[in-house]
Structures are given as C-alpha cells and as structure tokens.
Symmetry: C2
Subunit: 303 residues, 2 copies
C-alpha cells in the first residue's frame, strides 16, 4: 500500500541510505564510465577519470533518475543528464579545492583532508575539461527517433543555469565574499546566511536534478515543478546538515535543526500529489526511490 | 570580379585588419553585451562582464559569422554561437592566467603584463560561470519556428569538443606537460611541437568557428568541412605567429615562417570552391569577409 510505503520512507529519512538508492548511483556511475572511456592522451583522460569519481557522492544524479521514473519515463532516458550532473559537481568540487595563492591553507579538520593526486595546473585544466564533456553528453543524448530535441535543449538550459553564475557559482561567490558561514553578524542573521548558502549550493542542484529527470521522463509541467521543489528542499536539508559541523553555539544548532524539520515537511508535501495519483496502481517502487532522496540527503557529505 | 577580390585578399593577408573584419567583431560584442546584462548580484556579474571582454580578441567569433554568411545564412543566426565562442576563449584565457601555487611567476616580457583586477578566487569562479553561460546562450538560440534544434545541438557538440579535453584543454595540457614550447629536443622536433600546440590552441577553435558558422547558415556538408579546414589553417597560422616571439634561433624562425606560408596556401585553397560557386553572382562581399580571416589571424595576439 502506498500509504505504508510513505510512512516507511518518512521513517527511513532518518536512517542511513538504502541499497536501492545506492544502486541508482551505481547505475549512473556505470553509465558515465562507459560514456567516458579511458583513451589517449592519457595525460588528459587519466586525471579526468580520476577526478570525476573522486568527489564525494551527492543525491543529485540518483534524484534525476528517480524523478524520471516517477513520472513514467524509462531510466535510460535520464542517464546522460544524471551523468552530466555528476560531472558538473565533480568539476566544481575540484576547482573549489584548488590551492590558489589567495586561499588560506586548509585548517586541520577531523575528516580526512583532500588528497591532491595531481598538481593545481592539471586539476584546474581537468575541471575545465569535464564541464564541456558534460554538455557534450547532454547534446548527444538527443534521440532523433523520439523527436525529443526540445526536451534535451531545455535540460541543457536547466543545467547551465544551475551550475552557472545564478546557481552553484553564485553560492561559491557568497561563501568567499562573506568569508564562509562564520563571519556574519547576529545569530538569526547567521542561520539565515547558512540557509542561503544551503539554497544555492545544495538546493538548486538538487532542484535541477529533480526537474531534469521529470522533463526527460515526459512529466507534465506540474510534475516538473513539484519535483523541482522537492529536490530544492532535499538539497537545502543537505546543505544545512553539512554546515552544522561548523557551528559552535548550541542555540544556533537548535535553530538549524528546526529549519531541517520544517524543510523536510515541505519536501514530503510535494510528494503527496504523486501519492494520490498512484493509489491503486500496483507496486510503488518508483515512489520508494524518490522518497529515498530524503534519506540520501542525510548521509551525503558533498561540500 | 571575384578573382580580383581574391587577389586583393591574398594581398591583404599580409596587412593589418580591415574595418569590415573589425566590424564583425564589434557586432558580436554588441550582441553579447545585450545577451549578458549587468544585473544583481553585481559581485558575480561585474567580474563576468569585465573578464569576458578583457581577453585579447581572436578571429574566431568573426570567422563564425562570416562562414554563416558565406554559405547564404543570415548574420543573426550565427550570433549566439559567435558569442559563445568569444566567452569560451575569455574563460580559457582567464584560467590560463590564474596564479596557482605550482605556476612559476610570469617572466617579464616586452608586451604588457596581465593586469589582475580581481583576486584568483574570483577569477577562477568567473571562468567557471562564463562557460555554462555560453552553453545557455547556445541552447536558447533554438528557434522553434525554424525547427533547427538539430543544428543547434550539433553546434553545442562542436563547441564542447573544441573547448574540451580533445581541443583547447588538451593543447594547454601539452603546453604544461612539455614545459612550453621551449624544452623539447632537436630543432625539427621543436618546430613540430610548436606546430602541434598551434593546431590545438589556434587551429581547432578557428576550425570550430568556421564549421559552426556554416552549420548555422545552412551550409552543405561539403561547405561545412571546407570552412572547418579553412578555419583550422587560419588558426594554425595564428598559433605559429604567436609562438614566434619565443623562438631564439634564427634557423627555427625561418622554419616557422616557411610553415606559415605553406599553411596559408592550404587555407586559400579551401576558399577556391566558393570562388567557383559564386562566379557571376553579383557583389562578393561575403567572400571578402572570409578572406579577411587570414588577415585577422596576423594581428590577433591571443595566447
């Protein structure tokens, strides 16, 4: 029964990721490895391969595939977009950890440090090579037999905006120009600034994953917007939990966790429309996938 | 008469750029300024604007527009692709001059040094923001009324490949991994390595400009391939002339200049097919534009 599935998902949202969510991620990675063969010149492709899979996993690619399936699309239709999203996040992660001359040396932290396998020059170029590859994969995914080039172009615009100067890049600007999440004024203000970074860095990429999956799966405009919002909330939760580690005051941590609960409710609300639609339509395996995004968002450590 | 035009172009190829070539470049810049309005957050868009136009001009955007017109297309069809190419080269230029911790300090040179208006962090992010914007402009250029989304997707693939790990980025890897053009073994080998960098850095971007213009102008496959080759040769000439400044031995410089002459003949040969086609078709203003690329290639100082 769908309602018991939903209850199960709500419960799971507080647990570690399930194998079915991890298997979506593994499918995307397998697709990408196939689409990005190791070839000459190795000096170029070896670092590209390595750095594409070195970044911490996020729920974004799996969310894209799950959204496609939820609206009735076939999984393989979403694979190029899911792979492109994975590549974009990997490129961004690589550039975010470049040792630039005006960046402070990383502080020692409990978690393991970034291990730089290549020099900064190569890492910079590799990020620069990964991004066009992602757009190439998207543009190639057009299937003339299906006449879906409009959907593909729409997804290219969605992803370009999400990773660009009004999305991921803007979030990183904010991080730099406000000196990270720790240099603002009062407490409320601080929590708000954490929320804003969470929206830009986590929210918009997950929103993009949900929307692109729904577009490629042939979803209605209403379904596309619901899955965009659902992704947005899931991404904010991820962004908030990530930044929690940097908070020192107990009061603030409490405010952040209240925010997480509020946003989680909003995310679940977007799923309700699908719940009603699918009542009595047989096994709800698709519903399960989407619900798991909430759970995936808890254990991912991208940032 | 076309033949006298051609003679004129051959002559002009050794001069400074004409006003008609410069006016194509100005048109592309005006289109781009309109497509990239200055908006909030200014902390993001101000550096994007500045750095997009701060890189030295190349013949690539104008070549794209000229190729479109040569095959009978309207100028405005090529503007988004020409703008995207300009943005890609600007992003690449910005990243190539980032002060990374493993890069040697720039040697003092006769030409003016790069003036860094922003910190490395901002310059890195700005490059990262410019590239998706370029793809967004391309994807948005689809005109449903014309049903040309297949051409637009093809151009996205062309540009992604030219700027990515099998094009511009590979050329930069080569520069880094061979330690620039000055560290190879024997002389012939050195000239050959200069030629290879010229192919990757100049050749493939100009080839892409020619091909994309011809695709968007509705050219035949034969026309697309001729303008691709023409662009390739023009770009190699540019790359060779750029690197000439770094050569110390007179003998080597002679070899390079011989190579330039050889490649120039090949470039002009690709134009001959258009010459025959257009005999007696009235004013040859389009022909003039394309021929000027040879001339533009002499005075640009990208690199």
């Amino acid at each position: 029964r769908p309602s018991s599935r939903l209850a199960q998902m709500k419960h799971q949202a507080h647990q570690s990721p399930s194998s079915s969510w991890a298997s979506l991620q593994a499918d995307v990675e397998a697709h990408l490895k196939h689409a990005m063969p190791m070839k000459e010149p190795l000096v170029v492709f070896e670092p590209m391969h390595h750095l594409s899979f070195a970044a911490p996993a996020t729920a974004v690619p799996a969310l894209c595939v799950a959204a496609c399936e939820l609206v009735g699309g076939q999984r393989h239709r979403a694979m190029p977009a899911a792979s492109a999203l994975l590549l974009m996040l990997a490129a961004s992660y690589t550039h975010e950890h470049l040792p630039l001359t005006d960046r402070p040396k990383p502080k020692p932290r409990p978690e393991p440090m970034i291990r730089h396998v290549y020099g900064p020059n190569i890492e910079l170029l590799t990020g620069d090579g990964i991004v066009p590859l992602a757009f190439e994969l998207l543009a190639r995914s057009d299937d003339p037999a299906r006449d879906d080039s409009d959907r593909v172009l729409r997804v290219i615009i969605e992803i370009a905006r999400a990773v660009g100067s009004v999305g991921l890049v803007e979030g990183q600007y904010r991080k730099i120009t406000t000196g990270g999440s720790g240099s603002d004024g009062g407490e409320v203000c601080h929590v708000e600034s954490i929320r804003r970074v969470a929206e830009k860095i986590g929210g918009e990429m997950h929103a993009c994953g949900g929307a692109c999956g729904a577009i490629l799966g042939g979803g209605s405009e209403d379904e596309i917007e619901r899955l965009r919002k659902y992704g947005f909330y899931v991404g904010i939760i991820q962004g908030l939990l990530l930044q929690r580690g940097e908070i020192e005051k107990e009061e603030e941590e409490k405010l952040i966790m209240e925010e997480v609960e509020k946003v989680r409710d909003l995310a679940l609300m977007e799923l309700e429309a699908f719940e009603v639609q699918s009542m009595g339509q047989g096994p709800q395996s698709k519903r399960l996938h989407i619900g798991l995004a909430l759970e995936g968002s808890q254990s991912c450590n991208y940032g």
